[in-house]
Symmetry: C2
Subunit: 429 residues, 2 copies
Amino acid sequence: MSEHRGYEGGSLEFLKANQVSVGDSVKILADITYSGIIMPRYEHSDDKHIVLKLNSGYNIGLEIAKIEKVEKIQSVEKIIEQDKKLEKVVGLPKILLLSTGGTIASKIDYRTGAVTPVLTAEELNSSVPELAKIANIDAEVLLSEYSENIMPEHWLQIAEKINEYSKSDYSGIIIAHGTDTMHYTSSFLSFALAGFPIPIVLVGSQRSSDRASSDAALNLIGATKFITESNTKGVYIVMHQDENDDTIACHVGTRVRKNHTSKRGAFQTIGDNPAFIITENKIQKNIKKDFFKINKFQSRIKLDTRVALVKYYPGYNPKLLDQIIEMGYRGIIFEGTGLGHIGNTMYESVKKANEKGIFLGMTSQCIDGRIRMTVYESGRDLLDLGIIPLENMIPEVALVKAMWVMGNFQDGEEIKKNMLENIASELSS
Amino acid sequence: MSEHRGYEGGSLEFLKANQVSVGDSVKILADITYSGIIMPRYEHSDDKHIVLKLNSGYNIGLEIAKIEKVEKIQSVEKIIEQDKKLEKVVGLPKILLLSTGGTIASKIDYRTGAVTPVLTAEELNSSVPELAKIANIDAEVLLSEYSENIMPEHWLQIAEKINEYSKSDYSGIIIAHGTDTMHYTSSFLSFALAGFPIPIVLVGSQRSSDRASSDAALNLIGATKFITESNTKGVYIVMHQDENDDTIACHVGTRVRKNHTSKRGAFQTIGDNPAFIITENKIQKNIKKDFFKINKFQSRIKLDTRVALVKYYPGYNPKLLDQIIEMGYRGIIFEGTGLGHIGNTMYESVKKANEKGIFLGMTSQCIDGRIRMTVYESGRDLLDLGIIPLENMIPEVALVKAMWVMGNFQDGEEIKKNMLENIASELSS
C-alpha cells in the first residue's frame, strides 16, 4: 500500500511536508477546523485538494491553498492496531462474509483509508462499527476481482465455497462483490444452490469511499440486518433503494438488474417492488412466494458456457448467428424486440440452429414485461421455428440459467423443461 | 379482407347465422342492449364470444350463449361509403401521415373493423373523428411491415419519402410505425434529417383494437395536437404516458426506449422526463434545448450496416468478437457493464479490432447513466485500447448513429468527431 495513494503533484507534496499519510487521523485548520481521516484518491483528479473523511462519515475535499495547519492526531498504524483488539460479542448471530473484490472490498476499510483488498473480520468490524452490534462476522477473501472480470469459472468457485458452509452455524452469508456483474453472479448462485438453507446476500458499493457519502457501510449494515432479522432463505442483492441513506432494498437475485451506471439506487427489481425494504426500525416484506421452488437443498454447481446471448437489432447480420451455430454453441438466448420478435431476415439461420438441436430461448430487450409470441404472425412463425418463449425472465438471467441448465442436463427435453420451470423465482407472475 | 376475420367455430357460426360481418353496425340484445360495431379478432381466442366496439369507444366481449337478438343497423360497406364523403375543413393546418405498418396501421380503421393495412385519409379521419377537427390529414401508405421486420434499408426509404416534403405546406409529418423498433427508426431519422424544418412524429399502438381501450386513436390525436400546437422541430415518439388515457408523452426520438413488452406506457425517455406532456387542454414543455444542434436543414440519408452491437456478459467468448472483426465490420458498439467495462478476456480481441481501424464505442447495458471509464483501472485499460466512451448515449441509438456516421464519413477522425458530437439530442446533460 502506498502511503499517499492517489495523490500527486502539489497535494502529494503537501502531505509529505506535513508528515501525514493516508489513513492518519488529523485535525485541519482551514476556514474552520476539520477532524477526520485522510482518504486515498482513486480518480484522475487535480492536485490541489486532499480528501478528508469527517467523523460524521462524510468525505470532503479541502483545497490545500486554504489550509493553515495540519495536526496529526493518530497514525494509521495505531488505528489499525486498536481496531484489531475489538472483541466479539457472545450470543450474537454469526455471519460469514466472503469478499470477491469490487469497490466495496477495496474500499471497505474506509475508516483507516488503507487500500487493500485483503479484508479481515477485524478491519471490517471496526470500519463499520454498527456491524459488531448486530452480528459476529467472520470474513474470508475468496477473490480480488473487479466484477467485469468475474467469469463463469468464478461463479463456480464462489458457489463451491458457499457450499462448504451448508451445514455451518452461520445465519447467513454475505458476498462482497463488484456491482457491474453482481446480478449475473446472484443468478448463478440462485440456480446452483437452489434450496440453500441460509440466506446468501450479495452486497456492493456504487461509490468509492473517497467520494462523499459512500454507500458501502450502509449496504453492509442492511445486509447484516436482513440476515439476522428476516428469517428467510434465498439469494438476494442488497443495495441502496435510492439516493437516500435511510432505505436499503433487498432484491430477489434473479429479478434484479443494474439499471444505472452510477446512482446508488442503480439496482432495481424488474416489474415489481424489491422483495424486502430495510429501514432502521423494520424490515418490510413484499415477496409472497418462497424464493426457491424446492425446500430440500442439493447443490448443482455445474455450467456450460456454450450459450450465447444474441441481442437483435435492425440490420443484425444473420451470418453472425451462423457463426455461433458453427462454433458449437448448445444454446442461444435471443434478446428480441417487443413481445419476443426478431426480423424475418433471421429465419433461415434460426431454422438451421433448430435443426442442429440448439436450445433457442426468447427474452425481450424491453427488459420489463412478458414474452407473448402468439399475438402476431411473426411471433407464431418463430414458435414454429422452435423458439421457446421464456415468459418474463430477464435476458441476463435467462443466459445464466441456460449455462447452468446445459451444465446439468444433456437431453433436449430435460433442458427445455428446466428452462421453463421456476427454480429460483426467476419467473414472476 | 375476410368478412369474419379472426372468428372460428361457434362464434363464426353465430355471425353467419345472424347474417352480420366484421365492421357492421349492430344492436345486440343480451343482458342489456348494446350498440356498436362488430370487431375482428386477432389473437388466439375462444369461439364463445364476439367483440363489439361500443359507441363510447370501448370494446367488449359478448358471450354468444347469452345473446338474444342481433339487429344489423348498417353494413360495413355503407359505413365506409359515408366516411369517404367527409369533407376537409378549410383553414386547418395540414399534416401528412405516412404509414409503415404495425399494430397502429393495421388496426387504425377500428371504427369499421376492416382489417387492411391500406389506410386512406378518409378512413383515418372518419375512424378518429377528433382528428378532422384539429387538422386536415393526407395519408400515404409507404410500407406495410411489422416493425421487427423494418430494416435499415426501410429507414432510408422512410427518410427519402419525408425528405420530399421538406418544402411542403405541411405543419408536420406523422409516421405510423410498429412499436418494436420504433426507437431505432426515430434515431435514424433524427440523424439523417437533422434540422428538418417541421416536426416528424412517430406514433404506434401497443394494444390491438380488438381489445378494450386500444391506444391507437389517442396516440394519433396526441401526435396531431403536438404538431399543430407545439411550434417545434425535431423527431419524436408520441405514445401513452402510462395506463391512463388522459396523458400522452412526447419523447425525444434519440432518448427513448421501449421498456415494457405490453404496457401502453412502454416508451420511456431515459434518465429524464418526456420532452412534452400532452393533455386535453395543454402541452407542457420539459425539453430545454433545441432538438437539433444545427438549424439549417441538409439531408444526409446514408448508412452503412457494417456496425455491430456487442452486448458483453460474463463468459462472452472473444472469438465471437474476432468473427466480427474478420467479417469486415467498420464499427463495434459495446454494451458494456456498469460505467463502461468489458472483461479482461476481451482485451486481445479489442486490440486487434483497434489495430484494424475499427471504430470502438462504449455504451452501458445499465441503459441509464453516463459512461465514465476513468474511474477504475479496467476502464482506463480499455481507453488505452482505443475504446471511445459514448457519454450517455443509449446503446441502440449509438448503434444507429454509428451506422449513419459510417455511411457519411470515411475518415477515422471524422467518424470519431461525429460520434461524439451532439447532433440530435442523443447526448443529454
